[in-house]
Symmetry: C2
Subunit: 413 residues, 2 copies
């Protein structure tokens, strides 16, 4: 079986939700042994949507439609699916009841148009939505299956996991089990990772090993098929172990996290606290760390110190040091980290100073020059980086470099 993801709704197309959903669904489907071959986004035009659905059903066996299940007139997925499946829409009493209860609980008057959300194509399998008002459904015509899910990521994900995935598992012809694992890698260009992995890199093997990029880090995806789940898992385990041995500290985690998750886990395991001092990243390092639930247990405080004045007043960086080396220098990065740790009373501190541009660069100190310092209980370590890109990308690269240097120092401590 292969699949196509069909996203509807002009806002979904123009916003980023459709693509986030597609990335999530692609991985889940891959884990079920169903490759996603196409991803199509279409605005709210009935004819375009119907044509896209017909085409998808002609070229793949499974079409996942996201979005277009809301109550307004431009939510067309129910009608389009009904036409495609050649089954009229029927209003399901249990869904009407559920809608009435939801609205009553929120003490909101239900508009008559909301009842459209209780309609699904005759004969289709209902996909309950435990957290929202739009249910989904699974319909079938010939060899094609159409799964309709809402566009709201949290609702869609829960419904896929609870109803669609079990359905697809039960439907699978092949009895072979699949196991999938993502190793998260930072600190090596993707183009040289293949060489480094040597024969362990095998996009077409079983286990297969491939790479993809995700927000500045690399995902090494290991996937095995076998007669049983435990055998597939063992194959993945064995290959993942060899990859980890080959890559060492370049592997910072598994699954879906970022470098910030790895850092916070190390801090928690070692019962260490952290302070952050940021110049060119302007709060991004702290923002990334505080995206992780429970960050407050380790992160004592953060400071954004753009001006020399603030570096002196907030972190105790001496004016003489700033005057003699300049704000973007290894000694100043070091002084910022030491000052942050001392003033916050933390075990570790990470400091970033650099030139994010577009202005402020010189031939000696070009845009993209960044220093990161990590102060720990036993030493201060400083690294110099030269990044390419524009302002926002430079902030992102600098923040990842800072988190990774901190991770390395934590591993050494």
């Amino acid at each position: 079986m292969d699949a196509e993801i069909l996203a509807t709704g002009s806002e979904l197309v123009l916003g980023r939700i459709a693509n986030t959903n597609a990335a999530w669904l692609s991985r889940e489907l891959e884990a079920l042994g169903i490759p996603v071959r196409f991803h199509t986004a279409v605005g709210d035009r009935f004819d375009d949507l119907l044509a896209a659905l017909r085409l998808a059903a002609a070229r793949v066996r499974l079409v996942l439609v996201t979005g277009g299940l809301g109550p307004t007139a431009d939510d067309l997925t129910r009608e389009v699916a009904s036409r495609f499946l050649r089954r009229r829409l029927v209003r399901r009493p249990e869904l009407v009841q559920l809608l009435r209860e939801r609205f009553a609980a929120r003490r909101i008057q239900m508009a008559p148009s909301n009842l459209r959300q209780a309609d699904i194509p005759d004969g289709a399998l209902l996909v309950p939505n435990p957290t929202g008002t739009a249910p989904g459904f699974i319909g079938r015509r010939g060899r094609a299956r159409v799964v309709a899910l809402p566009g709201v990521p949290r609702e869609m994900e829960l419904m896929f996991r609870e109803t669609v995935a079990p359905y697809l598992r039960a439907e699978r012809r092949e009895r072979r089990a699949i196991h999938l694992r993502d190793l998260l890698v930072y600190g090596i260009p993707e183009s040289t990772l293949g060489d480094r992995l040597g024969p362990l890199f095998a996009p077409e093997g079983n286990p297969s090993v491939g790479t993809l990029l995700r927000s500045g880090t690399i995902v090494v995806r290991v996937r095995a098929e076998a007669a049983t789940e435990s055998l597939a898992r063992r194959r993945v385990d064995a290959r993942a172990r060899r990859i980890r041995a080959r890559l060492g500290e370049l592997v910072y985690g598994e699954g879906e996290g970022g470098l910030e998750d790895a850092v916070l886990q190390l801090l928690a395991e070692r019962r260490r606290t952290l302070a952050v001092a940021e110049s060119c990243t302007g709060g991004l390092v702290a923002h990334k760390l505080t995206n992780v639930p429970g960050a407050s247990a380790s992160l004592l405080e953060g400071t954004v110190v753009y001006s020399n004045e603030a570096k002196t007043r907030r972190l105790g960086v001496s004016r003489r040091l700033l005057a003699s080396h300049g704000a973007v220098s290894a000694p100043v990065a070091e002084a910022m980290a030491l000052g942050a740790a001392r003033r916050a009373g933390s075990d570790f501190a990470v400091a970033v100073t650099g030139i994010a541009g577009p202005a402020g660069g010189t031939p000696d100190q070009p845009v993209g020059l960044v220093f990161v310092a990590v102060a720990g209980p036993s030493r201060v370590h400083v690294e110099e980086y030269h990044f390419a890109g524009e302002r926002v990308a430079l902030k992102e690269r600098s923040a990842n470099a800072a988190l990774n240097l901190l991770r390395q120092e934590l591993l050494r401590s």
Copy 2:
């Protein structure tokens, strides 16, 4: 003419670049009077890509392909376009020369595979890439035109603006001019904005007025067609003026910026300085502000104070106040803002304190409760908010609320 955007490359599909490109291109094409009807993403499979290109050329007149122009074996756009256009690839000497110079300037040995980037379909129009190594091209077969551009957003955007847009403008059959303007709105749900605009809201009119969502704010897009550019612009001007009169301060800007751009512009105009104190947003307000070039002129410093201890030590919030009202309270938000302004010596300060979850909520103080305080030269203003969503979404909503309250106080000052 209508268009389809076809994104290639598995990384583009799984990452978010494809969709960012599609959103950008959709707007540019709309401004040229070319509606984008489909957006398709396909992995690096020759047959799938060729089928998608054929289909696109059959259902729209203009196909924009992004990605797949790099030097590696899985970059297939050149070959696929060559097959579709029925024109062989020819190596262009001027492109070979350019590639050699680029690599020489960076002192990197050029691999033979890089020369593939000098190949374009015979008879196609070259689209120069002033900032990268992958040139684009425009080919034609029958009534369909195929525009191939690299997937790197900055390169793609520059090439579209410099070569593709002028080409499309010259090719347009209709002689009517189009003018487009985006009014940026914050502080009203999209569902009630239509009512508020009344007859000014006209998705099908000329000028047309529609809405779309963009990262927590609403874009009101005004578009007019007329015999001349100046007439179209006057129509847009007139409608935009009436919309602004109706919405007042809800309109925070025009074009592509965020609330942070509006805030920094007001600060610069009024020659005022700013300090930021963040608890639940964890650095996101400072991060947003520092994404804007030149933010350092107004933003003196930022502080991330998660713990009560840090609130006291860094901002001078009294322990008694924290004990009697709790860290998530109006008095503490106020004290944080006053402390931040005083310690930084800034004219304004914005402070955020709240419960981002998932843990830490109580029946009295649920997850999503947020206080924002803005301290200015003449007063301190505090607002209480109740947001829905999970941790990262709550941080985003809180940061936008903080920037907007700051904007309102700046307007009043």
